[in-house]
Every structure is written in C-alpha cells, then in structure tokens.
Symmetry: C2
C-alpha cells in the first residue's frame, strides 16, 4: 500500500509507492568506462589549465600552481556567480533582484585522475574536508555573502561535467530555500520547546532504529522517513552544532570515516551510482538592516548535516511543477539494504 | 553580470547566469526516431492492454474499450497511489503520514501512435482539455481528495515511459508544496490588498512587456521573471478564476489554441525538445475538521495557470539539495526568441 509522508522540516510531501518485489539491482545502470586523462585540467601537471588556486594542501616546498598538491581549490572557470562587483538589492514589481555576486570554486580532491572520493584513504578524504572548512571560513569574511553551499556532483548523470574527482562551493548573497525551510522549522520548534528540532529527530530515529544505517559515538547515518529519492541518506553529527566549519580536527577525521563508509555502502549496493551530496549548514550570521541581532541568534538553533542523493531514478516532470515526489522504495527497506551491505 | 531573482509566489531563488553568446541552438539535442508501434498499449485496437477506461470521447455508437475513440482515459497500470482503501492520517514522531489513497490516470490524447499533442488540430486538443475537465470534476466528488494534478511528460528525458502521446492525472489527499506556496502568497496578498496576486502579476508583465511571448483577449503567455529553467513558459487566463475546471466551452477552445501555439513555438525554436507541463489550479474546496469554512474560501484568491518546462538542460545536483536553481539564459532573451519565432 502506498503512503504519503510529510517532512515538516523540509516542507515536503513524498509519495512512497513501493513497487512489488523491487530490489537494489533494479536501480543499477550500466557503467561506462572512465574517460582517458587527455588534457584533464584537474590533473597534476595541468595546473595552468585552471584559474590560479585559492587554496591547496601541498607537499613541503612545492610551489603554488605547480605539481606537488594533495587537494587544490580553484575558482570555477565558468562561474554561476561572480566575485567582482557591488551587491545591489532591488525590487522589480513584486519580485526581488540581487546582483549576482558570489564565489564559485572547485575543490579538486586528488591529483590522481582515476581515484574517486569514496575510494580514497580516510586521511586523504580528511584533507578534502579540511579544504572545505578553510575555504568556508575564508569566504565568511566577505560580508556580501549570506550562505556558502558545499556540494558534490559525482558522475555525469549527477551533473558532473568532468570525471576527475571534485566537489564545488558556491557562496551566495541569499539563503537557499532548502535551508530557509529547515531554519524556520528549527526556530519555531526551539521557540516552543527550547530544544533543537534536529536533536529531537536524531533521538527519534535512534529509538525507532529501523531507518538507521550506521551509528557510532560521533555520527548517525539514516534514511529519512520521508525520503524523496530511493536510498537518500543523511549524515548527522550527534553533537549539536549549527556550523560545519566548527568541526575540530578529530571530528573531521570521524566525518571522513563515516562519509567514506556511507559512500562505500552506496557504491557496493548500487554498483557505483552517480550521486550528489550537499552540506547543510547554518547561514553566515549577519545583522540585517532594521533587524539587529536577528541573524546573529537564529542560526544557533540549526544542526548541520550532509544529505546524499544517489541519482538512480529518472526525475519525471511533475516533481518540478508540483513539489511532490514519488519514491518507489520504502526508506526502511533502503536502510536495511545499506545497513547490511557491510 | 549574473543576477539572483526571487519569486515570492513560488518561494524560489534562481541564479540567472547568462552564458556569453548563448543561443537556442546551443540547447538542441539530437532527436531519436520515434519507436515503432509494436504492441503499444495506447494504440487503437489495443484497448485490452490497459485497465478499462473511465472516460472517453468516441464516435457515435462505438463501444467502450473498443476502437472508435478520440481521447481515452484509463487508470495507470502502475499507479503511484491507489483508489481503494481508507484515508488514515497519523503522526510518526515529528513526521506526518497519510495512507496512499488517490487516483492515477492516463489521458491518451489520440488514437494515432505518431501524432503528438502540439501537432494535433485545435479541435482535437480541445477534446483532450474536455477530458481533463471531465475527469477533474468527477474526481472532486471523492471527498478523500484535496488536490488533482494534471500534467504531461513529453519525451523520455521528461519522464515519459511511452512514446504515444498522453498526459497524466494524480489525485492526492494532500496539497503539493508548489501549490501551497502560491496559495499562501495569494492569501497574504489578498488579505492585505483585496486583490489577486496573479492578476497583479499579469498586469505587471503586460506593462513591462519584455517577457511577453503571446497575448490575446483571453490568455497571456510569458517567460517568468525568475524562470528556474531556460525557456520556462507560463500560460495565464486574463479572467480571474481559481479553478481550471470552470473553463467553459469557448475558453477551452481558446486555451487549445494558445497551448498549441505555445508548444509549437517551443518545438520550432528548440527542435522538438522534451517538456513537462503542469496545470496549477486551486485545491478542491473542503472543510477541515475544527476549521470550518477555511478551505471553502481560501482557494478563490487563486488564479489557475499552466507552467511549461522544456527539459533541455541537465539538472545538476545541488538544486535538489538546496532549492536554488541556475538558469543560463535571461528570461527576457528567452521570451524574445519565443515571441519572434512565428
């Protein structure tokens, strides 16, 4: 029997309509061979094929924009937003317009063309997370930005235009809707109960246990109750923290471990599918004109986390127009498969 | 210079990031040959390959579930929601669950395997719209339903699993987010100004004129200011009406004309691309337990319309996780191309 599930934190209904006898292998698509290196701009030795780097983790004494790096962050050659210019907000009739100021950077996760994030060693994944954190902290200093989105598109079907393992970061002068929804739900819950809605959710999922994929004393990984996509997976830190960039060294190591573990489960179960992940963290605290203090306090109700979506089903049209999703597998089933894979 | 645009009716930010010199032809993909008829379940003569019809427009004296029809509506063989069962609403921790009661029907638009909606004659398109209306009105009688979504997926990339021209209808016991957002914006605007927000928007777009694609004395077609997708197109009736199914015979004829005209423009400009359209109409007026009168009055602030999305760009990952869209073409440019095509 299908079921409609509502996530009041994401403001989202999903129709969970399990197809009889559906198994993970029914979602598996044919894999293509990785493309050759050719002139891959992300490969070691091709540093001059990208804009100059803004951050890197390097071997001692290796020179900027030369070989010898482990992780390298460069501005996107085709940025969606531009760093130069004045931030102008204006109304256009009933609409709002903000000049397209922002940063759009690429985190090249490894010098090795054929190595993918989930196959890297934990300490090398940690270097990627350290780079996220460093760029995040640096970009918060630009007062024009309200939000910094860190995300990864893995595989062409997930929107990756280059094969070489990389993630991206977009700093925006606005807060994306997905975060606004979560923030408002968190604020309402907090003002009513003086508790974090995500901490409550964590406890709820741990006590229900049927959707848990992995848990240790730092992180919990589960399939959300109202998963919009098959095998959608969330990684939450047990410790309440609104800000990803406040992770200390040990937490980043633990996160590297759990991220690798989760991505490996997805890889094994679904034959190395394309996927996206997005780090959901609080907006950058900023005072607003006429609303002093508002954004300084609000984000602390938030709880950062990572949302992973394997891109294994075709998104039919009406999701876009309706905001209603159809998921052909029960999240409890999906969690069971992912839990048992190791 | 890129620009961020906010649509307060849809609660959606879009990054309009025009690529220099981008032209409609840059979005054109290779077309595949239409598949042969084989055992197409939607073809005339194959009526026994679908569940029995719930509605049809037929030649005189032709028999139900036999050849002789012009439009045929059948339950979806693989429905996302099921018609049988009791509607149960329950809480699961902080989440909500509703049993998956609903209707999922397929509107087969023509008996001809090789004819597509945009290529049909206006009077035959009108028969499709008459079928939408008839099914809509019939399904509103089922008090378990709150919303009826009518939509079309054209082309495999838009989610159509069969080539033969068809659209779909899903009746749900909940109201999809896209409609909730629009309804709340409309209600707020109305309670403040006693005017329909969509009527205001219509007048605004007509006076700005730069985003208008087509206009006659019944309908206006334009590219929305904060288009999330390239060549996104909206069709609005000039007459304020919250309910698509209140269209009379003449209005359905006019709508057939304008829908054909709009889809033809898209077809010519973008080489017959896949597309989706969704009819946005008010929820079915229903009293709510404990809130008498609430839903009886609210929907009248609404203004029904059709949203069309050509599926010509790849949806990269972070849109899903963030609710932030990136559109590589200015809506004013898109409108100009579509306006000048005829």
């Amino acid at each position: 029997m299908p079921e409609l599930r509502y996530d009041p934190i994401r403001w989202r209904w999903t129709i969970i309509s399990p197809e009889r006898g559906i198994r993970p292998k029914d979602f598996i698509k044919e894999k293509k061979e990785p493309p050759p290196k050719n002139n891959c701009p992300f490969c070691e030795g091709n540093e001059d094929k990208t804009p100059p780097e803004v951050f890197s983790i390097r071997e001692d004494k290796s020179e900027k924009n030369k070989p010898g790096w482990k992780v390298r962050v460069v501005p996107n050659k085709f940025p969606a937003l531009r760093i130069e210019g004045e931030l102008i907000r204006k109304g256009v009739g009933i609409f709002d317009s903000v000049s397209g100021i922002g940063a759009h950077e690429v985190i090249i996760e490894t010098p090795n063309h054929f190595l993918q994030l989930q196959d890297m060693e934990i300490n090398d994944i940690k270097k990627v997370l350290i780079s996220y954190k460093a760029r995040y902290i640096d970009l918060t200093k630009d007062v024009r930005f309200r939000y910094i989105l860190i995300f990864k598109n893995y595989g062409a079907e997930a929107g990756a235009s280059l094969y070489h393992s990389h993630s991206q970061l977009i700093a925006t002068p606005i807060i994306p809707l997905a975060v606004v929804a979560e923030l408002e739900a968190a604020r309402e819950h907090y003002s009513e109960k003086e508790r974090c809605i995500f901490c409550d959710l964590l406890q709820q999922e741990i006590s229900f246990s049927e959707r848990i994929i992995f848990k240790n004393d730092k992180f919990v990984v589960w399939a959300p109750f109202a998963s919009s996509f098959p095998f959608e997976t969330w990684i939450f830190p047990l410790k309440h923290s609104h800000d990803f960039s406040e992770c200390d060294d040990e937490e980043l190591y633990e996160l590297s471990f759990v991220l690798k573990d989760t991505l490996e489960r997805i890889k094994i179960l679904l034959n190395d599918p394309p996927y996206n992940f997005v780090i959901h963290t609080a907006p950058i605290p900023r005072p607003r004109p006429g609303r002093p203090g508002y954004w300084e306090t609000l984000p602390y109700d938030y709880h950062w986390h990572i949302e992973i979506i394997p891109r294994i089903t075709y998104i039919a049209g009406f999701e876009w127009g309706s905001g209603l999703y159809i998921n052909p597998i029960l999240p409890e089933e999906a969690a069971k498969y992912l839990r048992e894979i190791k």
